[in-house]
């Protein structure tokens, strides 16, 4: 870079000399403490600091040059020395001695105190809105895939939950609760003042799973200097319609003046999975299965034909079914991550630059998961003069993510029959090289009938062989994202601090995104025939998005004669336009070996192609101002943004988003001086109010669009083309608007050693947008794509506490920080029809899809309910009361044996009930048994009323079945017994950190916590259901087997019974404290590294996800609800445990 700089200067010199043929010749010598300096710069500058001519000193430090005007200044500079500026005047000889540099750092400090607030630079003590900045320096040396992971537990009010432990799965972020029902609830991400949104706009957030492209993956964590979280509406109002979920403002690192610095770091991270559920081995599994098949029918031959469970040595596949395979172990592994980052930064007065490149290679804790990322970023600032400055920021990110097919290999492995082998085994029981794939199955056919698998094990067959799937199927997502921007800054008025300044900023930016995702499921993974839809199934998804934006703004900072006043304001016009294309190809029944869905195989017509494209444009105008009096004693900020979006119809196209904030630094009042003393260094009160909005994510909703190529009507010749109207035009759709009020204070104690800030907020979201709202079907359409449906409130508070070096003993010092946040979400109003429609649905967490309507007869699916004055994410289900200890027949037999009369019988039953024994008989409010007319106890049934037919299929509870509380004592367990069981949203969440330093050593610890939330442990529900043939958790060994067994685990019932209905059995406390990081850093002493020719050398060792304190019985309680659903732990890949070793070298 140095050479480049020299060349550049030289070029300028030549140009300069060409132009300045006339003028005064000057000469001189440059020296510093170490003698004459070679290659030092001598530059002639005009009043605007524009370079007029320049030369460099020779070997002896001498120079000579022709200057254009004696009014100009001469600038003498050399890397490492202080720059000197002299007016030329009449002087012709300049023998200058340069002083060593030492004060520039000071400037940087001052700069960092100012923060960017909607384009305005405002000093920290004048910030009147609620925001919090996180400096990435704090987590240097730790390994993160994306920046959101670094923020976990650091920002009060920002609840971050990892989607799963799969590579590149991303996180869910919720700032101050949820203000949307079906839309994206993640905060807006802004990188260097540029909106960085999710490029896949067709993404369905309400039913989202982790397949979403995590946008933050496109920003290398190593390139980020700091992240500011804008919390209240006054702060986010400048982002208008996009900022209603809060804003994460990411600032990337820029070059700074000084010698070019090369920095190289290498991180190695080892990852492994926490111990999961202990599952049944092959022997216990086959025993359980035999019981499960026997129990419903009680027939002795229930499993005679199911050879897979019989350990029949005569069967040809016997060796493949006599194993104890640990499938989970087979699909998990120790994962490693190598991360290399190299950057070069530096610059002089004219230009500063930073060039960085990063490469990351991860292997997952699940076999065959691989993630690669390459990033590069170039940041260049060039000052043409004091008035003009050009900047460019150019970043490219490539990610290659080899996922597992179906993204749920671990889930499959948990369900797999453990007596089956991974590889086909020969007659001696030795593995061959071939994966074992189950034979086809057909109703009523068994292995004895030929090459069949038992139909009863169809579900196991449907899973496939997870090891084979991981190895043979592929799902590879590759993305490219290019985000260049170019900006120019022009000072129209003064450039000095004591003048009024008017700055014109212009910027063009682009965001180019391309992704392709080929998926292939080879025929060798199933034993299906070629006519099956999954025979050599391949798909390809291509997404392209181009986004371009332009912005002009004027920033005006007047200089007041009365220096008590200061103000700054800007007016901005911005526009952006977007083009989006998506294409999906699907093909199956391909000849073996062909993996591309683009092959046009004429063999069979099972191919499909769908594509979508859309365009949108938006414009906005922003006025943002800030006034302060007496260096921030009083500050006032105000902004107004007008947003126009092509997503809205003419009636509601433009919307206004105002924001106002004030701050009163009471500690600066003269009367506080005495009270303050030494201990109180700052006390500021803040209040703000503002409005944000949200637009729907689809385009063209405001038109009646006709599809004129929808097909044909007719037969044979003269087919008539038809046209259709796609849907109703949403002519009354309004912006979703969130009004928020924020009150807070900042306190600094002991010279700001301890800083506390507190915020209280009240957010009201009106005209909630909801997608796919059901409308009466006689309209001719089933749903409206969007509708404004109601109002939601979020109230909460946040407290942030940091203490820097509050203990300092000799070389030892200690930092601590703590934050806590509480949010209460309430649904205040909602269209009754929408509520009714929502409440009839359910979510099947296994498929991740919601269906409707939820019926009591469905097994295992959790009903969704949304109720007014309750928060979203409420969990409803039965109350679980254990297992019926005795069966009904047990009682009847007792009666027969003892010849009890009806009254005696009743008394005997009541006696036994009082002893705590349980029977499937109806009990009244006092807990006494209800007898029928014939003198028998009434039996408890499952949902009699909704029973279809003559009543014969009504399920009567038996011994060993789950006891659900019969809330209304009507003798049947049905919808009326469903009650509220808790809420998925945490009452409090936050984090706390400690840092200890001793000399060159430092130890950092980071913790995060969430409390007061409930989690549906779906994993356990599935692992203890004993309803299908999937493998189960080893706790089912305690299952009920015979009358009298006292156990919380019901009996095994294949394809029968209602023993795993949604109930509080699976609703667990999801509170936890996670010891996220423990990091030890060693800064090699300067003396040593100087010897090695280095500038900087640090070594870090850290342990991540060290320990979780929780009552939760599952693997990881960190789950959050999707949309209006409940938080369900569907046994996705858990967050791995990790250690990281990092070396950072500076040259």
């Amino acid at each position: 870079m140095k050479i480049k700089k020299i060349l550049f200067t030289a070029l300028l010199c030549i140009i300069g000399q060409e132009l300045m043929a006339q003028g005064v010749r000057i000469s001189g010598t440059l020296t510093d403490n170490e003698g004459p300096i070679m290659m030092a710069n001598v530059v002639e500058r005009d009043a605007n600091n524009r370079i007029v001519s320049a030369v460099q000193t020779d070997f002896n430090g001498n120079f000579s040059m022709q200057v254009k005007s004696t009014k100009n200044k001469l600038v003498f500079s050399y890397v490492g020395d202080k720059t000197q500026i002299l007016t030329i005047g009449k002087r012709t000889v300049f023998n200058i001695k340069l002083e060593p540099e030492g004060t520039q750092l000071q400037e940087v400090v001052i700069k960092s105190k100012r923060s960017n607030s909607g384009g305005l630079m405002i000093s920290k003590k004048e910030v009147s809105v609620s925001q919090q900045t996180f400096d990435l320096e704090n987590v240097k040396g730790m390994a993160f895939t994306s920046a959101d992971e670094a923020l976990q537990g650091e920002i009060a009010g920002l609840d971050i939950v990892a989607n799963s432990g799969n590579l590149g799965a991303g996180t869910q972020m919720r700032l101050r609760g949820v203000t949307t029902i079906t839309g994206d609830a993640n905060p807006l991400i802004v990188v260097d003042d540029k909106i960085f949104d999710n490029p896949d706009e067709n993404f369905d957030f309400a039913n989202a799973n982790e397949e979403q492209y995590a946008s933050l993956l496109s920003v290398n964590v190593d390139d980020i200097a700091s992240i500011t979280v804008l919390k209240d509406a006054a702060a986010t109002a400048v982002w208008g319609s996009k900022g209603s979920n809060g804003v994460l403002v990411i600032t990337t690192k820029h070059g700074s003046r000084g010698k070019p610095r090369v920095n190289f770091s290498y991180k190695f991270t080892g990852t492994w999975q926490p111990k999961g559920y202990s599952l049944l081995d092959g022997d216990s599994y086959s025993m359980l299965m035999k019981e499960a098949f026997y129990n419903p029918t009680q027939k002795a031959d229930a499993t005679t034909n199911i050879e897979e469970l019989n350990y029949n040595t005569a069967w040809s596949e016997y060796e493949n079914w006599n194993n104890n395979t640990d499938w989970v172990d087979a699909v998990t592994q120790f994962g490693g991550q190598h991360e290399y980052n190299l950057n070069l930064a530096g610059g002089g007065e004219k230009a500063t630059f930073r060039i960085s490149a990063g490469y990351k290679h991860q292997t997952g804790t699940i076999i065959k998961q691989k993630f690669k990322q390459f990033t590069t970023r170039l940041v260049l600032d060039y000052n043409v003069s004091d008035r003009i400055r050009f900047s460019t920021n150019f970043a490219l990110t490539y990610t290659g993510n080899d996922r597992n097919y179906g993204n749920n290999i671990l889930g499959l492995a948990q369900k797999m029959a453990p007596n089956m082998s991974i590889y086909r085994q020969d007659s001696n029981g030795n593995d061959t090289g071939e994966y074992y794939i189950m034979n086809p199955s057909e109703s009523g056919k068994y292995p004895k009938d030929g090459n069949y698998s038992s139909y009863e094990l169809n579900a196991i067959r449907g899973l496939g062989n997870p090891v084979a799937i991981a190895n043979l199927a592929k799902d590879r997502e590759e993305t490219y994202r290019l985000t260049p921007d170019f900006s120019v800054k022009y000072e129209l008025l003064g450039t000095e601090p004591d003048k009024s300044r008017l700055t014109l900023n212009g910027r063009v930016d682009f965001d180019i995104y391309a992704s392709s995702r080929p998926v292939y499921y080879p025929a060798s993974l199933t034993s299906n025939t070629w006519s099956n839809q999954m025979y050599n199934y391949s798909t390809n998804t291509e997404v392209n998005r181009f986004k371009a934006g332009g912005r002009v703004e004027l920033v005006y900072t007047p200089h007041f004669k009365n220096e008590n006043w200061s103000a700054t304001m800007l007016a901005r016009y911005e526009m952006s336009t977007e083009k989006y294309n998506k294409q999906f190809l699907e093909m199956s029944m391909l000849p073996p070996g062909i993996t591309a869905s683009t092959i046009f195989a004429w063999l069979y017509d099972n191919d499909s192609m769908t594509s979508s494209n859309s365009r949108s444009a938006s414009q906005n105008l922003l006025y943002n101002g800030h006034i302060s009096y007496k260096e921030g004693l009083y500050s006032l900020g105000f902004s107004l943004r007008a947003d126009g979006d092509s997503k809205f119809g003419p009636k509601n196209k433009w919307a206004l988003f105002p924001g106002v904030s004030v701050r009163y630094n009471i500690s600066d009042e003269p009367f506080m001086k005495k009270i303050k003393g030494n201990w109180l260094s700052m006390m500021g009160l803040r209040a703000s109010w503002g409005i944000n909005g949200k637009a729907p994510s689809s385009n063209y909703l405001f038109y009646n669009t006709y599809n004129t190529s929808a097909g044909y009507y007719g037969y044979g010749t003269n087919l008539q083309p038809i046209g259709t109207l796609d849907g109703l035009k949403l002519d009354d759709l309004r912006w979703e608007k969130t009004t928020s009020l924020n009150l807070g204070f900042n306190i600094g104690l002991l010279h700001d050693m301890i800083e506390i800030d507190f915020d209280y907020y009240h957010k009201v979201t009106k005209d909630l947008l909801m997608s796919s709202v059901a409308i009466p079907s006689y309209v001719g359409y089933g749903t409206l794509s969007y509708m404004n449906v109601g109002q939601m409130n979020n109230d909460g508070w946040e407290l942030n506490f940091t203490a820097k070096k509050f203990i300092k003993i000799g070389k030892f010092s200690m930092d601590a920080s703590f934050n806590i946040a509480q949010n209460e979400n309430l649904l205040k109003e909602m269209d009754q029809s929408v509520l009714d429609a929502l409440n009839n649905t359910y979510t099947n967490y296994t498929s991740g899809k919601s269906g409707s309507p939820w019926a009591i007869t469905q097994r295992g699916n959790w009903p969704l309910r949304v109720q007014l004055n309750n928060s979203l994410g409420s969990i409803y289900g039965f109350r679980y009361k254990g297992v019926y200890q005795y069966g009904y027949d047990y009682l009847e037999n007792l009666q027969k044996e003892n010849n009890w009369t009806s009254a005696e019988y009743e008394a005997a039953i009541n006696g036994m009930l009082a002893e705590g024994k349980t029977f499937p008989v109806v009990r009244d409010q006092n807990g006494n048994v209800l007898m029928d007319g014939q003198g028998h106890p009434k039996r408890v049934v499952y949902n009699y009323a909704n029973n279809n037919g003559t009543g014969s299929s009504t399920y009567t509870f038996q011994g060993g079945d789950a006891v659900y509380e019969d809330i209304n004592h009507d003798g049947q367990i049905n919808e009326l017994d469903i009650v509220y069981l808790g809420n998925s949203l945490p009452k409090v969440n936050g984090g706390f950190n400690f840092t200890f330093r001793y000399g060159n050593w430092s130890v950092k610890t980071r913790f995060m916590y969430r409390f007061g939330n409930k989690v549906v442990n779906l994993a356990r529900q599935n692992l203890e259901m004993m309803y299908n043939t999937y493998n189960q958790c080893s706790s089912v060994n305690y299952r009920w087997r015979k009358d009298g067994d006292l156990t919380p685990i019901p009996r095994a019932m294949y394809n029968t019974s209602y023993n795993f209905q949604p109930s509080d059995r699976y609703v667990e406390d999801g509170g936890f404290v996670r010891f996220q990081n423990l990091q030890i850093t060693y800064n090699f002493p300067k003396k040593i590294i100087k010897k090695w020719g280095l500038n900087q050398l640090q070594a870090y060792a850290s342990l991540n996800n060290l320990y979780v304190w929780t009552k939760y019985s599952g693997v990881d309680p960190e789950v959050s609800p999707q949309g209006y659903g409940v938080a369900a732990d569907a046994s996705q890949t858990p967050r791995s445990k990790q250690f990281t070793l990092t070396v950072n070298v500076g040259l």
């Binding site: 120019v488 007041f560 526009m575 669009t705 046209g723 409308i775 009466p776 019926a855 279809n948």
Partner: protein, 589 residues
């Protein structure tokens, strides 16, 4: 404070020239943006309804909506399953089976998937769109003449009336919507109309449509029967009048029914083109017995057809009949949802007499799969439906007795709404109803003659067919004969349940057809009992459970499907059929 003038001067004079370039650059890249963006692959309303072809697209779109499996499956379930014709197949699984079973056993729940009308209203909305917007196209496109417009309007009025006729016969009290829905701001709250006023409005619309309707002879290809021609409009009017006559016991309606049947019959006769060597003029040009099945159902668009929905594999495959009737033996063992009931057993209740092949329809309409067995002894559980499924007439392939017949895997089958023999039997039914008493031989004999023509063409010999002497003893005998013949002729064509309902209504006294059921319930009226004989017919398919089902179907409201629960939930003004509303008021915790 600073002086703004100074700034102004400085900016304008001093710096403006320097910044001019910069500023214009910035504005240039910014200012050419518009926030009005139209989709690339769709036409928006503002550019639509501008030409004749736009209207044609939407008219055909309305017809095409009828082809959807949602519609066809409902026509099948409502018309066939609810009658004694069909039963759900036991070996299928899933929610559809449960819904079918509910209907079969008279336990229909309000959330039954067939208790929905969305697909029918979707057709209605498409008709309404044309009715509302086509007129303005005349001023935009001179090619779109008044005649074109009136012809389009006639078709849409007729199609809409057909839809409402289906709705009224299946739900009784339905919202009568004649405005098209285009925007989300339109009022979606509607109330139900009583059936009488809906039918009255339909008849008025049809009267208008009849004037401007296209003639069937205007086309020679599929459009002859694929569009709602004047013949089809008259057939529909005959059907509605016959229905109304049966419900209201109204002679004038029966007379209208006869008159419209005559119009259709005459028109069909006049359209006949004589073949070479054809000398005898006939009143009814029906396909001859051996060829009839092939002509009507396989080759499609037969001469005797009046209106049928045009399916074509690839463009619009008939997934409806395929799913519900097609037992596709050859391919991966798929099973249809419905089988024919045991009454279709040869020698059973429907086809009673004669030698094996005395009635061609016996073997063509159903089929048994039992290997080696002859068709004569079809087993109850496996009596498969051939109509709308088989690609060959049974009698064309006599070698296939007892083996799987060739199935049409191309889903090309049309769904027939009206054909001539249906009209003839309608007329016979109306004539019988018009008979003043059991001795009114002029009416009764005329009716018998019509039945006889229909019957005879499917018989090998005259001697196999019906004899007047056997059926001459009065109105109810003739009524029963017509019911039986309609079952033989029109089995599985979505007609039977309405035949039964007409039969029942004709024998029910005190039906209040101009008040909705919910209102009647509010007023405390007792609902009229359903005619026993009709229930006796209906329960024939249910061996042991028949009486229980008949008991559940005892009153008029039970003849209808429940109003869709999903709509009741979100449309506050809708009222449930009182016989289904028991569970509505349960409160959940």
């Amino acid at each position: 404070m600073i002086t703004y003038k100074k700034i102004y001067n400085k900016v304008v004079t001093g710096l403006f020239s320097k910044t001019l370039f910069l500023a214009t650059c910035s504005f240039m890249m910014v200012s050419c943006v518009d926030t009005l963006i139209l989709p690339d692959d769709k036409t928006v309303d503002e550019d639509f309804w501008k030409s004749k072809s736009d209207v044609q697209l939407m008219v055909n779109g309305a017809y095409q909506r009828m082809l959807n499996a949602d519609v066809i499956s409902r026509l099948i379930v409502w018309g066939d399953l609810r009658s004694e014709e069909a039963i759900p197949v036991a070996s299928i699984t899933g929610s559809v089976k449960e819904d079918l079973e509910e209907i079969n056993l008279g336990n229909t729940q309000t959330d039954n998937t067939f208790a929905t009308w969305a697909s029918i209203y979707a057709v209605i909305n498409r008709c309404n769109m044309v009715l509302q917007r086509a007129e303005s196209v005349m001023s935009e496109d001179p090619n779109y003449t008044n005649g074109d417009y009136l012809a389009d309007r006639a078709q849409m009025l007729a199609l809409r009336s057909l839809c409402y006729f289906y709705l009224v016969r299946n739900f009784r009290d339905v919202p009568f919507i004649t405005e098209a829905y285009f925007n989300s701001s339109q009022d979606r709250n509607v109330t139900q109309s009583d059936p009488e006023s809906v039918l009255k409005a339909c008849l008025e619309d049809l009267k208008e449509a009849e004037q401007n309707a296209i003639s069937a002879s205007a086309f020679t290809d599929w459009r002859r029967v694929g569009y709602f021609t004047r013949d089809a409009i008259n057939a529909l009017q005959a059907d509605i009048y016959l229905w109304r006559g049966s419900v209201l016991h109204n002679t004038a309606d029966y007379e209208q029914a006869v008159a419209y049947c005559d119009k259709v019959i005459a028109s069909k006769k006049s359209q006949h083109v004589r073949k070479r060597g054809e000398t005898v003029e006939k009143d009814y040009y029906l396909s001859e017995g051996r060829e009839a099945f092939y002509d009507i159902f396989v080759n499609k668009n037969a001469e005797e057809s009046i209106f049928e929905l045009q399916f074509q594999n690839g463009t619009n495959g008939n997934a409806g009949t395929a799913q519900y009737f097609n037992h596709n033996d050859g391919k991966d063992g798929s099973v249809p949802f419905l089988y024919a009931s045991s009454i279709f057993k040869y020698g059973g209740e429907v086809y009673t007499s004669g030698s094996t092949q005395a009635d061609y329809r016996a073997m063509n309409n159903t089929y048994t799969n039992t290997a080696g067995a002859t068709v004569t002894v079809g087993d109850f559980d496996g009596l498969r439906i051939r109509k709308y499924v088989a690609s060959e007439s049974y009698l064309n392939v006599p070698s296939q007795v007892g083996t799987a017949p060739a199935y049409n895997s191309t889903l090309d089958m049309d769904y027939i709404i009206y054909r001539l023999s249906d009209i003839m039997l309608m007329k016979a039914e109306a004539l019988t109803a018009l008979a003043s008493d059991d001795t009114d031989a002029s009416h009764l004999h005329a009716a018998f003659n019509l039945v006889k023509v229909v019957n005879l063409r499917s018989k090998q010999t005259e001697s196999d067919s019906l004899k007047w002497n056997t059926y001459s003893d009065g109105k109810s005998t003739m009524e029963n004969l017509i019911l039986a013949e309609r079952l033989r002729e029109l089995a599985f064509e979505g007609k039977r349940w309405y035949d039964l309902m007409r039969y029942s209504y004709r024998h029910m006294e005190g039906v209040d057809y101009s008040t909705t059921l919910a209102q009647q319930n509010d007023e405390g009226k007792t609902f009229v009992a359903v005619y026993d004989e009709m229930l006796n017919l209906m329960k024939r398919k249910l061996s042991g459970k028949g009486n229980a089902v008949a008991a559940k179907m005892n009153t008029e409201p039970r003849l209808y499907m429940p109003i869709p629960l999903s709509d009741i939930n979100i449309s506050p003004q809708l009222r449930q059929n009182p016989s289904y509303s028991d569970n509505e008021n349960i409160n959940k915790n």
